[in-house]
Symmetry: C2
Subunit: 455 residues, 2 copies
């Protein structure tokens, strides 16, 4: 069966349950702490922000969680997503390894983000929520949530990092097309935004600031909740439909991966494809290498510290256990906006701490070079975030060839680059700049924290 | 089986043959004429422009033409494309009709155009062609051909209507990403371009001018050929994979359409989905209504004349039998750039003349309104071209409801709108202007022609 280029599933093969890796982890993720008392907080503290169904998912120890039929019905718009064998790329590389990719760019919003936006909108609607606030950087998450809220009849208010709001107007219009209201952040609509603007009226904004604004608004209003596109346990769990489908597809191809690769921002992309494969390692003694590919300019996994830190800039969130660069760290303006977050989710951080997953960091020139080769051999133009996985796959294929081995490599092609052509233009015209981050910058950012380091 | 939202096929269900409707037409399409002698031209006259394999397809009387395996292998990147039941749109309309759509936007270039770009590049490569020239308006065709040429190792040179080159830079970068060279047209690289520039140095360009430039260059060089994205018989035939897959998908759903709708530019979009269904009318006495949806500002089918006319502006092409507005007609700058062509292909024109198909014209405000409703109920943001089909479907569903009937309607969602967000912004901000074309303008344009009118 290995001649298949595209491995498809029918809509009845969309998973009926999400996989919760927490149940199988040898060391469970640490609890969030109250930022004042530094004591663990209970689920009830999250109630102003999230509907109870999602809070339950955040703390559940169950291995499998049912996907509501109404959510599966919406998933059918783009799921099951196709899996491809990268024959064109393999040939161009001259590799003896086999490369597969799962393509999440077929969703209406163009990335994997709707996998969690849809259930989040659904559970909010079930509990009578009228409005959801959120933040977005490059716009992938904001557009996914706009799409999902529109389908479930919920108002969606998006705080978009100002530099992206101004530089990526088409993502904003996409959100408007789905009926959402989009504000540049920092805005004067919140205490948090006004505080930042008072310090710097020309602030370009950051994800951390935008989170502060969205969280603040949700705290103030009973009928408004907040939604996050990565980091949290329930978000990562929703994404496991990617890996669960991938297992079925590779079974059809009669194959299993030696290596699974995904881009890494807050963890949802990586968790989505990797956790269902990690389950074989955790429960059946398999040894599938799962590699998180992060940008060299925002290297929380490879150069950050494992300690408690805020999820936002202003301090509206609990303290979360994360590999972090510090919540005031401002990543360079790389084109992979979805990977510009200072910290990693609690589950992924624990897995890394325990040596159960790996991480690599990549500079953006190597990533775009890989992305162009991919577009020219496989046809699909990848999102800048996705090129981090492609470049990592190319490294691993080369290593295997040099060792005289043949590996089976699977990666998550998490989105298309249709809204990122400005980045490709910069690369093609030789104007793309490389961003370095020094150890001094990272140390200085971490030195500002007064939160517990995790042994 | 009618509960299915998405009807998928596996890659072995990609058709093995294209359908050539000419074999089943009661009156065959008229031949092209030499622009000087006005005598029918033989296939050999086309040899400087096209490889022999495509010229043979242009004139074949065979009902079925084999699809080469190498072409099917590339089709596998995005084919079979999904078919959807529009449950969300049906509910919003409150209609008793069933609405299905075939989604061609999953191709790497984002539209149905690669269905013919790939075989055209393939046959050119088979015959040793080194370079292909072409024109593009909004950029859908140019990007499809760039993608196809890259995969087959052929240079691609695209003449892009200047107003689009300047106003839609991201489509140009997409072509560059696939390795193509793109020039604004009119350019100073051709006799044709220089002639236009001498008359008007600020000419915004038009499809007709860009065709003149691309054809001129192909005529001058043995190793360079030309490729057209619509109008010609072989192009329409390549697109029939859309309708052939649709038939298999509707069989799985246990359904058959009463009405098939597609947007209409030069005919390839419409032919692609409609011809395989028209076959049932022509050979089995069925009565499936096939409706071409054209823009009111470029109404060749509903208000043009059936006569011989040039395919381009300068006069580099043979005379083609077409419903036309005259080759000097300059359509208003509507956002559906892919529908801004003055004439219709020979086959489609003959079918319309013989009353075997229908046509409707639509203004762009109605189209965008329908497109927004579609995006908000079905999730996918349609290309402006595709909104013409959606608006027509909504008209037909309403008519059926008013008559107390329930129809099964299928339409071709020929592409996504990711590169057209500027158009959506105009609509959402109330700035979209309506374009009318008067009978005087059409008559004046047609009065310039000295070519045979067809009785």
């Amino acid at each position: 069966m290995n001649h298949l280029k595209k491995i498809t599933l029918t809509e009845d093969e969309i998973p009926h349950q999400w996989y919760n890796i927490v149940a199988d982890m040898p060391n469970k993720p640490l609890p969030p702490l109250h930022p004042g008392t530094k004591e663990p907080i209970g689920p009830e503290m999250l109630a102003p922000l999230f509907p109870m169904a999602l809070i339950k998912q955040e703390v559940t120890g169950d291995t499998w969680v049912d996907i509501p039929e109404e959510v599966r019905d919406v998933y059918k718009i783009w799921r099951p997503t196709p899996m491809y064998r990268a024959f064109g790329l393999e040939k161009a590389l001259g590799t003896n390894s086999k490369i597969y990719y799962k393509y999440e760019g077929v969703s209406p919003a163009g990335s994997h983000k709707p996998n969690t936006a849809v259930p989040q909108a659904y559970y909010n609607r079930q509990e009578g929520v009228k409005r959801i606030t959120t933040e977005t950087g490059a716009g992938q998450w904001g557009s996914a949530l706009s799409f999902a809220c529109q389908l479930f009849g919920i108002e969606c208010e998006v705080y978009m990092v100002r530099v992206s709001y101004e530089g990526k107007p088409y993502r904003k219009i996409l959100m408007n097309t789905w009926g959402a209201t989009v504000y540049p952040s920092p805005s004067d609509r919140t205490e948090s935004g006004r505080k930042i603007l008072a310090q710097d009226p020309n602030s370009p904004g950051s994800l951390g600031i935008a989170i502060s604004e969205a969280v603040e608004l949700a705290m103030q209003d009973d009928q408004t909740k907040y939604a996050l596109g990565s980091v949290l346990n329930h978000v990562l769990m929703h994404q496991t439909v990617i890996g669960l489908e991938s297992i079925k597809q590779l079974e059809k191809a009669g194959d299993m991966p030696d290596i699974v690769v995904a881009p890494f921002g807050g963890g949802s992309n990586f968790a989505g494809i990797a956790f269902p494969f990690l389950r074989y390692n955790l429960t059946e003694g398999k040894n599938i290498r799962c590699i998180a590919a992060e940008p060299a300019s925002c290297p929380k996994l490879t150069r950050g510290e494992f300690r408690y830190d805020l999820g936002d800039t202003v301090g509206m969130t609990p303290l979360l256990p994360m590999y972090t660069l510090g919540h005031n760290f401002v990543p360079a303006p790389i084109h992979a906006g979805g990977l510009r977050y200072h910290g990693a989710g609690a589950i992924v951080s624990q897995l890394l701490k325990d040596g159960l997953i790996e991480a690599q960091s990549l500079k953006q020139l190597e990533c775009f070079e890989s992305g162009i080769l991919f577009a020219r051999t496989e046809g699909i133009v990848p999102a800048p975030e996705a090129t981090h996985a492609i470049a990592t796959v190319m490294r691993e294929a080369k290593k295997a060839d040099e060792a005289g081995e043949s590996k089976t490599i699977l990666f998550n092609l998490c989105g298309h680059g249709h809204f990122d052509m400005g980045a490709y233009e910069q690369y093609l015209s030789g104007k793309l700049v490389e961003h370095e981050v020094t150890q001094e910058e990272i140390s200085a950012s971490l030195a500002e924290l007064d939160t517990p380091v995790i042994a």
